[in-house]
């Protein structure tokens, strides 16, 4: 019997399938690959697009550089009704593609072999050296080109190159800006799948359906963008057990103005969150720009970043400072809580089995928010410290303060003592100085590979000072200095 089980597990491991509750979980999916329809039966839910492209389809132009979504060598173009995005194929599970159109580097050139304008520009401007990162760059560039996006540093923040120093790549991107989108890519703009994709067991298509499914399988792993869960598979080599894909729950992807403020569905991706924050809370939007690359922002969801409870997630501090509410749902039961109350302790959140994050609401308010993300590198780096401040000052007196930090404790945490030391006091140097000791009452950060405890405390303190100086119109951001 043991031998038999091992054989069964052997099969599952070989194919990336898994065995659960006496049956295999597999899925039948359909998508377009470089313009041609592909239907796959019995797909194991955690096979990555990258492995499938390279190992099953022999499309080896898409490269594996890190297998964790940090280098961009595996970038592919994925289009749906909302348009085309760049995504990391290494942490993209095949079922996430159901009903979408994928284009790899092999599909960027024309049917006659003619190069895409970004490809020609990369040749002309010497944008490749070893060439290994190049397919990923070219795809990211083609997506930006298709979308008319000329903020090249942002579009390429998730593509690492070790050879060129990036300068020739940016020259190539600039040179291709004015070139028309090639005919053969035009369909990606007005995306249409040839037929309505079939429903999938493990991919509920509404919040209601998700609530039901989760009641039936409370231990299911929820997969939205897979920017975190993907690593459990590619790095942790975990077999996830039952999974539920959220990509088809369109009602969880809505952003609406309500009486309570802005209601953001849990499955809203970070690129849309950035747009939603741009006018309301520009400092938050700027943090999101740096929080993850274009590929990560296009996949990662606000709900995922909150629900995984990471002490270094960058959204929770900002949301706490904005006094946001978290909407949880279990079956038909719903509850609402202040978002900071969700985080109980490291690795522990106030979420019951079968319960999921449905939405977040941000109350309407005057924008006093500043979010300061501190990391070794500006783009696509995990924060050592992320501080969010919303301090209200009336007649030079602090009347309200909401301050929260990531990276300073086992959970995203408010600086309650500091807030108390500020409220009711004059908005002044002296008041700032008086908060000195409160910081250590609020936080006892740890030392790790990102920063020492001392640096975390010092920089957190100094962020309050930065907020104060910025409020007075002082230049405090190196990102705003020009040569």
């Amino acid at each position: 019997m043991a031998q038999l089980l091992r054989r069964i597990e052997g099969a599952t491991l070989e194919q990336g399938q898994f065995w659960y509750s006496g049956r295999f979980f597999t899925m039948d999916i359909t998508f377009l690959l470089n313009g041609e329809s592909v239907s796959l039966r019995d797909v194991a839910p955690t096979v990555t697009l990258l492995d499938w492209l390279r190992e099953e389809r022999g499309l080896t132009g898409t490269k594996e550089g890190c297998n964790e979504g940090d280098c961009g060598a595996c970038t592919v173009m994925v289009a749906d009704v909302e348009g085309a995005k760049a995504l990391n194929a290494c942490i993209l599970f095949l079922p996430q593609l159901h009903g979408k159109a994928v284009r790899t580097v092999e599909g960027l050139s024309g049917p006659d072999g003619g190069l895409h304008p970004v490809q020609s520009a990369m040749v002309d401007h010497h944008g490749s050296q070893c060439g290994f990162c190049t397919p990923g760059f070219v795809v990211s560039m083609a997506v930006a080109h298709l979308n008319g996006d000329t903020a090249h540093d942002d579009a390429l923040a998730g593509n690492l190159c070790r050879c060129t120093g990036y300068a020739p790549i940016i020259r190539a991107a600039q040179a291709a800006e004015q070139a028309p989108v090639p005919d053969w890519l035009e369909p990606a703009k007005g995306f249409r799948m040839p037929q309505q994709p079939a429903p999938l067991d493990m991919a509920p298509d509404s919040a209601d359906a998700l609530a039901d499914a989760l009641l039936r399988t409370p231990d299911a792993t929820l997969i939205a963008g897979a920017t975190d869960v993907g690593l459990w598979v590619t790095k942790g080599l975990r077999d996830l057990g039952p999974v539920l894909f959220l990509g088809r729950c369109t009602d969880l992807q809505q952003i609406e103005e309500t009486e309570d403020g802005l209601r953001i569905g849990a499955a809203v991706t970070m690129d849309r969150m950035l747009l939603a924050m741009r006018d309301r809370h520009p400092s938050y939007a700027e943090m999101i720009r740096r929080y993850g690359s274009a590929q990560v922002r296009a996949a990662a969801t606000i709900g995922g970043n909150v629900a995984n409870g990471s002490p270094i997630g960058d959204n929770p501090p900002a949301l706490i400072a904005l006094d946001a509410r978290l909407h949880l749902r279990c079956g038909q039961d719903r509850r609402v809580m202040a978002i900071e109350d969700f985080f109980i302790a490291y690795g522990q959140q106030d979420r019951a089995p079968g319960e999921f994050v449905e939405a977040i609401t941000i109350p309407v308010q005057k924008d006093r928010l500043r979010v300061y993300k501190l990391s070794k590198r500006f783009d696509q780096d995990i924060s050592a410290v992320c501080g969010a401040f919303s301090i209200t000052v009336e007649d030079d007196i602090v009347t309200a303060a909401r301050i929260a930090f990531g990276g300073m404790a086992g959970i995203p945490k408010r600086a309650s003592h500091v807030e108390r030391a500020l409220v009711g006091k004059p908005w002044s140097d002296a008041t700032l100085a008086s908060t000195q000791d409160a910081w250590e009452e609020d936080f006892a950060p740890m030392t790790d590979m990102r920063a020492s405890a001392g640096y975390r405390l010092d920089s957190a303190r100094n962020m309050l000072r930065r907020y104060f100086l910025e409020d007075r119109g002082e230049a405090v951001s190196v990102l705003e200095v020009t040569p």
């Binding site: 599952t12 491991l13 070989e14 990336g16 190992e55 080896t60 132009g61 898409t62 490269k63 594996e64 550089g65 890190c66 297998n67 964790e68 940090d70 580097v105 050139s109 190069l115 040749v123 002309d124 010497h126 490749s128 050296q129 070893c130 060439g131 290994f132 397919p135 540093d153 942002d154 923040a157 593509n159 690492l160 190159c161 070790r162 050879c163 060129t164 120093g165 300068a167 020739p168 080599l237 300061y372 501190l374 070794k376 590198r377 500006f378 783009d379 696509q380 780096d381 590979m449 920063a451 020492s452 640096y455 010092d458 920089s459 930065r466 002082e474 230049a475 190196v478 200095v481 040569p483």
Partner: protein, 815 residues
């Protein structure tokens, strides 16, 4: 002529279409096995018990091997025969391969590894420089010491003195393509290995050793690497040997590629260094004497650490004439990954030591650091060319050759081999080393080609350095939180392998009867454009355009006994070897055609795609056909060895370098004093490639080298915890520069001047030298931090925001 044209990389079109093939892209042969190593989870100790039953029975597993199951020790070392592929009972570092798994898929192999149950008996690991010094844990019997003059006396009697210390971190190569190898069994027990390596001959040599085969039984092919940077000079040995052993044992093809995290955990990185210094100088900042103690953390095995540490000593002068100097070098053995080659090969560390001294001296005197640097420059080339004393001679210029045969430890294929005197018997003494005695490096090589005065003048002007320095001072005066800083630093880098016999190269050129040409040489392509440059050389010799040349994969069956593509030597050595091969064929063709057309061979010209013979003009193809029909051999090897080298590494005397490559960079930064965050605003670079073989490719090396160098001194931080476990083992935690980290304004220009030495078309090597231009960023940060107070910042590298903030606090506290 094809040379000097800014042509794109020969594979550019393949790169951008995804068609360029790397080892893992080769269609996987049928029945191929996939390999993974099981790694040690402690830094030092012994294996108490090991249970691999669950691994053996894991799905898809075909074989599991421990050290004593292997056909030999499968040594992976490029030097001291001290790196068995699998650990055996004794563990030397966290991440050391302990066992090998072969399975039917990559994922199955990786998953199976996790099923191992190993109990380790740990002992105190030697992790840091201080640990190693306390335990006297080192390679070689003691520190290596080279000196010139009496540095101690010069310092003690100098008008001014400083002393200090700088720490500089290591650096992960982060080649985008991880280490990969594929072995395919051939008939008769032979083996074919496809490897992502800078050194196919070394792979051939090590695989042959592991399998007890003669070298002719192993063929290694390398079409291209997805980046190397030194990380594929010796670090690919283990994968190739593992594949070959499994292929030999099972008769099945075997492929191995490290997952990125494994690549970080297993392979060596740049050596981190601590350099303590003491200097005496006059009121103008002229250094009268300087002492360096260099501590190199070499990791657990010797690998290439001795020549790396030597090269750090060889660059302790950088561009400066130091009348009295003492350099003491400690090569420390620690329980960490075995540090290895990385672009610059110790040069950056040595150079950062003296640049730090220049910065510190200027700060001490309150003068512009550029003025101090200039005051210490070697004299300009034209000032030292004439006359001068005799060449410095080694005490034993014709030391008897050791003919006792290869020792067990010797691996003469690599830089790891370190004989004391490196010279061919009967080799001519250097004839170009005549220069005044005052113009020699600390190791006695005359500096006859120094061009940095003129280069610095031009860069200072082009970058508007002086005016910007004033503007920055004014800006800083009104900006309490943000401060700017600027620095202009030079690079002088010695070109040649310091193990003299490696300065040789071979080539194989075929002209087919239709006039198309296939070219092969011993160099490998890792993105630097070597193949294109060498093809341009070949095309020029035949008067053709480069499209006429087919560049083929590096192959040990075509060109034997190659040196690593390393030490920036690729185009210098292989360009010359290819030229020799082409000229042999060209001369044979000219002779035959001259006979046919009854003219002198010397009058036959190869130009513009044609061959001009007397009054006749033939296409090159017609000429090739005529020669074929005339039974002329249209195939030739070519060979080159660098002339004039001679080096005694124990005494630290001689002429290790054929010539020097020069460059200078001016970098401006802005620093936030609240968090220590900073940005590079502008960089201006002027670099010397001699007469460039391909200006576009050279500029690519310079831009890329600069940004990589900046990464080394800024964001790239390797952190080991107290258990010796590397905590920054993926791009999520180890931060190489991203797109927006390049300077906002980035000007790169080539210095216009020929190499004084007779190199290929008078060009200069360009692979490594530009890396050290990045040092200017660290010095600019130091300058910005200095604006906060009077104390010297003592900034270490990498200058992460945390280190910058702490330096700002120090500078302020010092007031």
């Amino acid at each position: 002529m094809s040379v000097s044209k800014p042509l794109p990389h020969d594979a550019a079109r393949l790169h951008v279409t995804g068609a360029a093939r790397y080892v893992d892209d080769i269609p996987t042969p049928a029945r191929c096995l996939h390999l993974a190593f099981g790694l040690s989870q402690v830094a030092a100790g012994r294996i108490k018990s090991i249970d691999l039953e669950a691994v053996r029975h894991a799905p898809g597993v075909v074989g599991v091997w421990e050290a004593n199951d292997l056909p030999s020790d499968c040594d992976c070392s490029p030097s001291a025969h001290d790196e068995p592929m699998l650990s055996g009972k004794t563990i030397h570092y966290f991440g050391q391969p302990v066992f090998l798994v072969a399975a039917t898929s990559y994922l199955a192999a990786r998953k199976a590894v996790k099923a191992a149950e190993i109990l380790f008996e740990t002992r105190d690991a030697i992790l840091t420089i201080d640990d190693a010094l306390a335990a006297e844990s080192r390679f070689e019997d003691g520190p290596r010491v080279w000196s010139k003059g009496d540095a101690g006396e010069a310092i003690d009697t100098a008008p001014h003195r400083i002393e200090g210390e700088i720490e500089m971190g290591g650096q992960e190569h982060f080649y985008l393509e991880g280490q990969t190898a594929l072995a395919i069994p051939q008939e008769g027990g032979d083996i074919l290995v496809h490897a992502s390596t800078q050194h196919p001959t070394e792979i051939q040599h090590k695989v042959a050793h592991a399998l007890h085969l003669p070298m002719h039984g192993v063929r290694v092919e390398t079409r291209r690497m997805g980046g190397g940077f030194g990380g594929k000079e010796s670090q690919g040995n283990a994968l190739a040997i593992a594949c070959a052993v499994v292929a030999a044992k099972t008769g099945r093809p075997a492929k191995m590629r490290y997952d990125r995290d494994d690549d970080f955990m297993i392979t060596g990185k740049r050596h981190d260094f601590r350099i303590a210094y003491r200097a005496g100088f006059d009121a103008e900042g002229r250094v009268l004497g300087v002492e360096f103690v260099q501590y190199a953390r070499c990791g657990w095995a010797q690998d290439l650490s001795l020549p790396v540490a030597d090269r750090a000593m060889l660059h302790a002068d950088n561009a400066y004439h130091l009348p009295a100097i003492r350099i003491e070098s400690h090569r420390l053995r620690t329980n960490t990954q075995s540090a290895t080659a990385f672009r610059g090969f110790g040069g950056p560390q040595g150079m950062l030591g003296i640049e730090r001294v220049m910065d510190h001296v200027a700060h001490h005197l309150g003068t512009d650091p550029l003025a101090v640097r200039r005051a210490n420059y070697y004299a300009a080339a034209q000032d030292v060319d004439a006359g001068g004393g005799p060449a410095p001679r080694s005490a034993q210029p014709n030391a008897p050759r050791d003919i006792s045969g290869p020792k067990k430890d010797a691996d003469s294929t690599t830089r790891g081999a370190s004989p004391t005197v490196s010279q061919m018997p009967g080799a001519p003494q250097p004839d170009r080393v005549r220069a005044p005695q005052h113009q020699t490096t600390p190791y006695g090589q005359a500096v006859t080609d120094f061009i940095l005065h003129a280069m610095t003048d031009r860069l200072e002007r082009d970058a508007d350095y002086t005016k910007r320095r004033e503007t920055i001072a004014a800006w800083n005066a009104q900006s309490p939180v943000l401060k700017r800083g600027i620095a202009l630093t030079p690079v002088k880098f010695g070109i040649s392998f310091t193990l003299t016999h490696l300065n040789q190269a071979g080539a194989l050129v075929h002209v087919y009867q239709d006039g198309s040409i296939a070219m092969n040489h011993g160099g490998t392509e890792m993105g630097q454009g070597l193949f294109q440059k060498v093809a341009q050389v070949a095309a020029s010799r035949f008067g053709l355009s480069p499209e006429a040349i087919r560049i083929t994969a590096t192959d040990t069956a075509k060109v034997p006994n190659t040196s690593a593509t390393a030490a920036s030597s690729g185009s210098d050595l292989n360009g010359m070897a290819v030229k020799a091969a082409c000229d042999t064929i060209r001369d044979r063709m000219a002779e035959h055609l001259a006979r046919l057309y009854q003219t002198e061979p010397g009058t036959v010209r190869f130009a513009d795609g044609h061959v001009h013979v007397g009054d006749a003009v033939l296409s090159f193809g017609e000429a090739a056909t005529l020669c074929y029909e005339g039974r002329v051999s249209l195939s030739s090897t070519g060979f080159y060895k660098t002339p004039g080298l001679q080096w005694d590494r124990i005494k630290g005397r001689g002429r290790p370098f054929f010539y020097f490559a020069y460059g200078a960079a001016c970098t401006e930064v802005v620093v936030d004093s609240l968090t220590g965050e900073y940005r590079i605003l502008r960089a201006d670079i002027l670099h010397d490639c001699g007469t460039s073989l391909n200006p576009a490719l050279d500029i690519g090396q310079i831009e890329g080298g600069y940004v990589q160098g900046v990464g080394w001194v800024t964001t790239e931080e390797l952190v080991w915890d107290s258990e010796g476990r590397l905590r920054t083992h993926a791009p999520s935690t180890y931060k190489i520069p991203a797109c927006s980290d390049r300077p906002d304004v980035f000007h790169v220009a080539l210095w216009d001047g020929a190499n004084r030495e007779d190199t290929i078309y008078r060009s200069k090597a360009v692979g490594e030298p530009p890396f050290m231009l990045g040092i200017s960023a660290l010095m600019a940060l130091s300058d910005a931090i200095s604006a906060h107070g009077s104390r010297y910042p003592d900034l270490h590298a990498p200058a992460t925001p945390e280190r910058v903030l702490s330096a700002i606090q120090r500078v302020r506290d010092g007031d």
